[in-house]
Symmetry: C2
Subunit: 410 residues, 2 copies
Amino acid sequence: MTSFKVGLLGRGTVGAAFAELLEQRADTIEATVGRRPEIVGVLTRSRGDFDEILEASDLVVELMGGLDPARDYVLRALRAGKHVVTANKQLLSQHGEELWEASREANVTLRFEASVAGVVPVIRVLQETLAAAHIDRLHGIVNGTTNFILTEMARTGATFAEALGQAQELGYAEADSTEDVNGRDAAAKMAILARLAFGTPVHLDQVVYEGIEHITPDDLEYASRFGLSLKLIGTAERVDGGLSVRVHPVFLYGDHPLASISGPFNAVTVESPDITEITMSGPGAGGPQTASAVLGDVISAMIPPALVPEPIVKLDMVEDVLSAFYVHLEVDDRPGVLAQVAQILGMQDISVKSVDQRGMGDQARLVMVMHPAKESSVAAALQLISQLDFLRSPPRAIRVIEEEFLSSPE
Amino acid sequence: MTSFKVGLLGRGTVGAAFAELLEQRADTIEATVGRRPEIVGVLTRSRGDFDEILEASDLVVELMGGLDPARDYVLRALRAGKHVVTANKQLLSQHGEELWEASREANVTLRFEASVAGVVPVIRVLQETLAAAHIDRLHGIVNGTTNFILTEMARTGATFAEALGQAQELGYAEADSTEDVNGRDAAAKMAILARLAFGTPVHLDQVVYEGIEHITPDDLEYASRFGLSLKLIGTAERVDGGLSVRVHPVFLYGDHPLASISGPFNAVTVESPDITEITMSGPGAGGPQTASAVLGDVISAMIPPALVPEPIVKLDMVEDVLSAFYVHLEVDDRPGVLAQVAQILGMQDISVKSVDQRGMGDQARLVMVMHPAKESSVAAALQLISQLDFLRSPPRAIRVIEEEFLSSPE
């Protein structure tokens, strides 16, 4: 079968990451989908000819950003019957209806997962999983720069200016981050989400927005006192038969699903009587992550109706993995108990992370949390421990997941 | 255009909810997709003829559960060139390869979002958004009954038997919940997720599993002492070039994205160097919720390439919504300040939820959190407050989201 020809417009951070990822994954995609994707042309500010690239492509990926000439290129691609994948939130929040109409007329796909919340699959879920759900409300943390800044201010007591400086240093904010911190970037994304969730046209100009420039360390101190979490929240909800779409700094109570989203992560909660609520979270930006979302869209345009491809690999099933364990022992309260248990663990190369021992009359309870070890070693140790004469009941063991997680700001 | 004809196999809780939802949403779907879905036949234990229903349908929805006769019906439907949507985790975890092969051969869609984690869109995201991502690991809370039981045990100190009884009373556990509590239900779901995430055949029999029947209140007491959260966790991960798929009770540290998933909710975290990690959560069961997932799959089978339909409604944009506010005032520390502020708020019908006042020499800081009020009223009140002569700096106001959330167990 011939290859699936992709024209790439724009080769900045995301464009370069996309080109690299497509090449890395071409074998897998060919095994999965039956066609091999191939980049047939790249348009940059200084190189490439749009008409030639268009002519040669089955699908055009637009990663130039901005309105002009992106709008013209996307429209021409759609009208030429090419599928289009874009990450352009400015374009969709201001000229979306025109582009979607062009895609319907040409009966081609226009996909844009990466335009909102990066690889967090909120666009696809609104368009497909929830295509006919009656949605009441949608809350989102859709700007990673501001979420990073607010997380840092809460964590360290820094001022807005200090936290912004740190975000810039770490690459979570651009040199000109005006539209991030004043809420306009989030407003564009909320316009796109509201259009999909409520089936009504929503233009960026209709979204009320406010930024985080005026947030002080005091506000975050009070948040902590009241058990609140301060986030830049986009809201789109039905109000009195109409629609409200807005972006503001908002305090969330601790049990809100968005309260625990920290650092540069994004998350969206969709509420509907049909589904109660679902929440999706993950990295909202970053070249490789955003490129993954773009590639997912490209593959969707390539995919035939049957969605589960033949197995592409035959992996062995591994049973003896490394796990950390909590071990709970009821023992006689007498000297040497801990020493004997520790000796057995040591012989099996199992290292103890924390121990808690409590006496209760002539009996004691010994609870330990271990570092990861082979499950077979832990089973062998428990077998030996269970034979110790001071044990009052069989040992109890439960696994512990202890790794550091990427959603934390450090 | 002719209607899109759906044959329904099975009319239990989910089947009945699906039939009702399809009828409720038929207008919206027709407006959105251009064709009206219609149920042309229902097969129950006592009524209906499979061959007649098959003949009349464009798509068959299988909600009978179990292996026999579901396997035969799904195979025959696929081989007859009909799309199939199923929620049958037993079937897919034991005969998935046979069914997926049949769907590829007939070039029809076999969708199964509702088979794992109800309306949480994990199947779609693995198949589409992450179709070419290199996934390292997947953790899931994929059984709502056990998550409810563990949440109750942690919250109230109940024993396993007591919490199971309560789950049954509230409808979160069936009368025979053996396969829920012993981990086998979660194991079937993990087999399906692992197949999609790693592209390798995975059979239910290859999944190691352990249930929560032996968990004691003690374990949960220690969890709380060590800052851990106890969950029944399914894990599928690459290990030494192979694959491990398993289900166990596991302690999670508090910052793990699954640690805060409580009550009957489900959630899945996917880890990949391409995407860092994404997490999806929501209701894992329930008739209407599962029916929503089934309907999303049906619509996907109906959808033409251009995914954003014409606007189906023109909603007014509402700007003056109800919001709760935090208000921060720096004032002279003198008598009557709180009274004057309270009077202005009262005149605008704004009710105060909590107040915190602190003196600092001749100055005081007054922080209040309000109940929801019209934003225009709050703006008017702030305008009046800002004119008070004892104010040292302009009043500061930030919104608060204070509602109760559905993911909490009560």
